[in-house]
Symmetry: C2
Subunit: 240 residues, 2 copies
Amino acid sequence: MNDVSKMNGNANQPAKAIVLLSGGLDSATLLAIAKEMGFACYALSFNYAQRHSSELKAAEKIAALLGVCEHKIISIDIGNMGGSALTDYSIPVPVAPSEGIPVTYVPARNTVFLSLALGWAEALGASDIFIGVNAVDYSGYPDCRPEYIDAFARMANLATKAGVEGKGFSIRTPLISMSKADIIREGLRLGVDYSQTVSCYAADVDGRACGKCDSCRFRATGFKQAGIADPTVYYSANSV
Amino acid sequence: MNDVSKMNGNANQPAKAIVLLSGGLDSATLLAIAKEMGFACYALSFNYAQRHSSELKAAEKIAALLGVCEHKIISIDIGNMGGSALTDYSIPVPVAPSEGIPVTYVPARNTVFLSLALGWAEALGASDIFIGVNAVDYSGYPDCRPEYIDAFARMANLATKAGVEGKGFSIRTPLISMSKADIIREGLRLGVDYSQTVSCYAADVDGRACGKCDSCRFRATGFKQAGIADPTVYYSANSV
């Protein structure tokens, strides 16, 4: 996982990277990977009226445990736009697998997140943005696919002063082709404490999980396939 | 300026469009054009701690005068990221033309704005997003160029449920190749009251202009070249 890009920084300073940190299992692993690659990490989280706002408390814990140069939480209003079970509380979070793109999809979410990360990266002089998208054990969201990431990177390098006049941006997706079990194994190797992460779409205020949503199912299966005890605490007796 | 896309809506309802409305001359004209094309317009403005926040009051007036289905103002934190004279008050707004991309450039601004517009468009079921970028009488910002807009549109159609499963999105830039004088003539034909718009990068709380920044200079020259009396009120005796 080592990478020469850390050499792009000043001789005495590591290169800076923005790491999108939701507080879930994937993004905690992502941050550990970016740190191991030698980047000075700037964690970015979002408060967008998401149903699972205990994620944000988890993001703060993870940022502190793994160590970052700065952790910024940006509040944005996309919650009141509706259109997703994660932000519109009148749409229930499904408890069974669905066909096609599920109702937990938040319109343009990764695009909004990456765009704000791009703005911060440019202001900081960072060339690398890490996002924990995964195209294997995922829910079929269009903005988790490699072709989307490539199109975002191309756009970002046309959009910005640093893209046009400077060294440009890379969108880094080290998890994109890993299974959930592989992600967990890699995170444990790097010392991630998964008991501090929250993945559930319907977590309670203490970060306890429903055990029924897509995200809980992928997570539980990942621990099972990795042969590792699952540290997740569930609030439902009827959990996975 | 009529366009068949208005026919994409339900037989009894016009197609919806998001119109990015800053409160300046260009975006007021943009809204008038979108309305003339027959779209049901949803105006979107941003409070990002910009120096010229009197723009937002102007945006509210313009939205009310021209008539929109809804006007949403989203507050976001990009102001505290620094990197621009428009949001970092320690960097002075330049009063003379500069070489290259100027310090008034805000990192990834149009990308952040278009991404949030994309999210709202998808939630509303709108396929068209209007942005008043201009590649003629402009300040050399990279995110005003046609190649950037094309790359954003391509990314948007890979990013979204509506892009993948539905009819997709168009990013509409009717002003992109118009001179400032042409934009003013078109706006006056459509009844835009330019006395209600604020273009200045350093406007005061009442929306009065400095008369010296890039934006003031392009605006003043536009009125002059169009042979139309400039309704702009300046706070500086030494104005253009």
